[in-house]
């Protein structure tokens, strides 16, 4: 009977081999798929037990923290709620979802994973996992001021420290409450970094950058500003259909003369325009520390499918793009980056929200930024642009930003979005003080009736800049 017993043992070995193969399948080969299975709530349950780090504003105000919720679990709360919801985001295990800084910097906020070697007996020293605090650049007073200046209107305010890329204000209406992210009727869409707006005449700063820095023009070059002017076979008008004789580029920016900048753009050419746009960050997701799926890349978009066009696509109407129309879909953040570059002598610092991660005993474990994104133009070009933009504020379309002692420079934008109902996007991008800029801003107000940028957006921008400078920024 010994041969059958040997056979029997062989069969048993095969059966046990199957068990080990299947166990390896779940523990190793299919582990990742199982962990990402939508029915798998283990990650969420593990999350309940983690005391996440706090999210802290630049003045130490706590924007997000974990409170004990019984049974060794923690509940995340956001004291400032809607004011910072869009950038702070949320980490909500109940919903199994997260957003904003909570998502982007989860690695720090949730604490570092253990290495597999120490895990046989669990975390020997610590007991529970405690995340790192995330310190941010956000300024609660300026952010609150932005909200009250928007006064309920749909729009965005972005303020950047030009030399570092630190975002002091990043606010849009409408917002949502990140304590209840799934509340009925609320939207997490963040206009400041996701909205698709025509930038209007604020884009003339980009065209002027290409014109000046390429050496094709100087601020004193003269161009005839006839209106209407045929551009790509279709007549283009100046505001009020006013015709100008030979005017300097400075004057054309000051009075925001469309037909001049259309010609400038066409003379500079699409390749040069594309080069400078890319340096400013167009056609690329913003280098901001928010999840990519919560941001939008600015640029010309194909109206039929919404996709970004190639920057040199022959679908682009170069003349109209040069004055901020055509199919440009641009975020307020992108235009703030343009202003910031001009303010920082031609260098674009990557905009960022987080400055450092600090562990629970107060040691800084990671620093973020500042980091240069690109060198867009010569310092001398930036200086010329600042002078031209000073003229806009002092004697042009942006005079309502000309506050006593602020010494702002800027550019207005009024982008028609609905001719029939007279609806415009009102824009202002600017910087102050012009001699040594400390802050750069972009303000955008959506669907304003006869919404001239100089009337609606410039005063908001001026107030925000004034507040931030008075705070010592």
């Amino acid at each position: 009977m010994n041969r059958p017993i040997a056979h029997l043992f062989a069969v048993i070995m095969v059966l046990f081999g199957l068990l080990i193969v299947w166990t390896s399948r779940w523990t190793v080969f299919d582990a990742s798929a199982l962990q990402h299975n939508s029915l798998n709530k283990l990650g969420f349950y593990a999350g309940l037990k983690i005391k996440r780090g706090r999210i802290v504003a630049d003045n130490g105000e706590v924007l997000g923290k974990s409170l004990p919720a019984g049974g060794g679990t923690w509940k995340r709360t956001y004291p400032a709620g809607p004011l910072f919801a869009q950038s702070v985001g949320y980490d909500n295990p109940q919903l199994g979802s997260s957003a904003g800084l909570e998502k982007y910097h989860n690695q720090w906020l949730s604490g570092r994973p253990q290495s597999s070697l120490t895990s046989v007996f669990g975390p020997l020293g610590g007991g529970q996992t405690v995340g790192d605090d995330l310190h941010t650049t956000l300024d609660p007073r300026a952010q609150a001021a932005a909200r009250s200046l928007l006064a309920g209107r749909v729009g965005s305010v972005v303020a950047i420290v030009p030399q570092t890329g630190a975002l002091k204000v990043l606010y849009s209406n409408p917002t949502y409450n990140d304590n209840t992210p799934n509340a009925k009727g609320s939207s997490q869409f963040f206009n400041a970094v996701q909205g698709e707006y025509p930038p209007g005449s604020t884009f003339k700063v980009v065209t002027a950058t290409a014109a000046l820095n390429s050496g094709r023009y100087t601020p004193n070059s003269t161009i005839v500003g006839t209106s209407p002017l045929k551009v790509s076979g279709v007549p283009l008008q100046n505001d009020g259909n006013v015709s100008y004789g030979a005017v300097t580029l400075t004057k054309a920016l000051t009075l925001s003369i469309n037909t001049v900048f259309a010609q400038v753009g066409q003379n500079v050419g699409i390749h040069t325009m594309a080069k400078y746009m890319k340096r400013f960050g167009f056609y690329h997701y913003p280098p901001l520390d928010l999840p990519t799926d919560e941001m939008l890349a600015s640029g010309e978009r194909n109206p039929s499918n919404g996709h970004l066009l190639s920057p040199t696509s022959n679908l682009i109407d170069l003349g109209r793009m040069s004055i901020g129309q055509d199919k440009l879909a641009v975020t307020p953040l992108q235009m703030a980056m343009v202003a910031s570059t001009v303010a920082d002598n031609g260098t674009l610092m990557a905009p960022h929200l987080a400055t450092r991660a600090v562990n629970n005993v107060g040691q800084t474990v990671k620093r973020f930024g500042p980091r240069a994104y690109s060198h867009v133009m010569k310092a001398s070009t930036a200086l010329e642009l600042r002078q031209m933009m000073t003229s806009v504020v002092e004697e042009g379309t942006g005079q309502s930003a000309n506050l006593q002692g602020l010494n702002a420079a800027g550019k207005t934008g009024t982008a028609t979005v609905d001719v029939a109902r007279n609806l415009d996007d009102a824009w202002f991008i600017g910087l102050a003080p012009v001699a040594h800029p400390k802050i750069a801003v972009a303000v955008e107000l959506t669907n304003i009736v006869n919404g001239f940028g100089g009337t609606y957006a410039a005063p908001v921008a001026a107030q925000i800049m004034k507040l931030l400078i008075s705070e010592g920024q």
């Binding site: 043992f9 990742s32 199982l34 349950y45 049974g71 046989v120 669990g122 020997l124």
Partner: protein, 440 residues
């Protein structure tokens, strides 16, 4: 080295394991290394030493590795049950002691186990009767869609199938000793395989009937598969005819297929197995669904190669009160997934290898035995242990549909631990006799 000294040394890993295991759980619980873990280690080492001395006196020639392997499994089980629920672990420790008492009792009572042959029909009838006890109204307990336990005042649930499996193996070993010569001869060849005459298919029909009966009456696919497989293995070893196995497997497959499509509980288990991650199966409108299987797999995925460490597996929803179970039956049916989660692929593979070695030692005793009854008894008992491990581990790793049988010596459960200690006592008895004769 003499066999008993090897056994003694073999107990060292078991006591180290229980000490280190409890220490690990303690550190995890309270961040401190309490000397209670040493106390526990010492107590279990003491108990194992008593059993060892008893074996040394009564069964000096018995296989020296079997008892240490069982001690390792039982101690490991205690640590895991303690990690899951310390109250259950206290009861499990009591059952461990009762199991050792019955282990010693079995060795004393059946010193000459071959006298069991005289009572083979009584044993068979008693086994079959206690098997169907759970189905009798007022006596049985209905748990999770199957009739698995009998209510015993003061003891809680008693699972007769754990004992019935031993009784049926004893009966078949005895029956086949008498009839194997007849069964092994005659018949006609078909496709190169020699098939026995129809009249010799009697035993297989009876075994098949018992297995199907368990499925129909108790809705218990796991026990059915384990018993049927074990008895079929004995039939094969007794006759050397692969045709019995082929006929047997086909008959079982047909029966299981028919019942799987006609008994709703069995059918649901098959659906859970085939479509584990289908949301409709995962959380059906009625019944349990594949929630348990799926979450067992999710837990195993957390384990990876080395595991998350003791106490790291999530068994209940954190903060839920009363506890909402993420892994239902973590201390019994699902204990293998907790082991895999916390000790990883290496930990669970080591556990499976331990079982494989134990089964191998049991089969070695079968090979060394000189009489058919002993050989068949050791074969049957070893095969039943192997198949029990396969049924439950295969169930939680989705090799086969999940049905509730215990992981021998490791799962929480009084009947299981006591019955398996009795089973090992018989294996030691067979092995002692075989090795004594081999030396003589």
């Amino acid at each position: 080295m003499r066999a008993r000294n090897r056994e003694l040394i073999g107990l060292v890993p078991a006591s180290l394991l229980v000490t280190a295991g409890f220490a690990g759980v303690f550190i995890q619980r309270s961040n401190q290394l309490s000397n209670i873990s040493l106390t526990y280690g010492a107590i279990f080492l003491g108990l194992c030493l008593i059993a060892h001395i008893f074996i040394r006196v009564t069964l000096p020639h018995a296989d020296p590795y079997m008892f240490p392997l069982v001690a390792v499994l039982a101690c490991f089980g205690l640590v895991m049950v303690y990690r899951i629920d310390s109250t259950l672990a206290r009861q499990q420790a009591e059952w461990f002691v009762i199991g050792l008492v019955l282990f010693i009792g079995t060795i004393v009572a059946f010193r000459d186990y071959r006298k069991l042959e005289q009572y083979r029909y009584v044993i068979m009838v008693v086994s079959l009767v206690i098997l169907v006890l759970p189905r009798i109204p007022g006596v049985g307990q209905y748990t999770a869609g199957a009739y698995l336990a009998v209510k015993v005042p003061g003891l809680g649930g008693f699972q007769p199938e754990e004992f019935a499996k031993i009784g049926l193996v004893i009966f078949l070993a005895s029956y086949l000793r008498d009839t194997r010569q007849v069964l092994a001869t005659g018949g006609r060849r078909f496709l190169g395989v020699s098939f026995p005459p129809i009249k010799h298919l009697g035993p297989i029909v009876v075994i098949w009937g018992v297995a199907m009966g368990i499925m129909v009456l108790l809705s218990d696919m796991g026990s059915s598969l384990m018993l049927y497989g074990g008895l079929l293995a004995m039939l094969y070893v007794a006759t050397g005819r692969i045709s019995f196995v082929l006929v047997g497997l086909i008959a079982f497959a047909l029966g299981a297929w028919y019942l799987g499509t006609h008994i709703s509980h069995v059918h649901a288990r098959v659906e859970d197995w085939l479509h584990t991650f289908d949301p409709r199966v995962y959380a059906p409108k009625a019944g349990l669904g594949s929630f348990q299987v799926a979450n067992g797999l999710f837990a195993q995925a957390q384990g990876g190669l080395f595991g998350q460490g003791f106490g790291q597996a999530i068994l209940t929803v954190p903060g839920s009160n009363p506890p909402a179970y993420v892994i239902p039956a973590a201390s019994t049916d699902m204990i293998f997934t907790v082991i895999t989660d916390e000790l990883g692929l290496f930990g669970s593979a080591a556990l499976l290898l331990t079982y494989l070695i134990l089964v191998g030692r049991g089969l070695k005793a079968a090979v060394m035995s000189t009489d058919s009854f002993s050989t068949l008894l050791a074969t049957g008992l070893s095969a039943v242990v192997a198949l029990q491990v396969f049924v439950i581990v295969g169930g939680v790793t989705r090799v086969i549909p999940l049905t509730g049988v215990t992981l021998p010596f490791v799962s929480y459960g009084g009947s299981s631990i006591v019955a398996n200690f009795v089973l090992v006592a018989f294996l030691l008895l067979v092995s002692d006799r075989a090795r004594r004769q081999a030396r003589a």
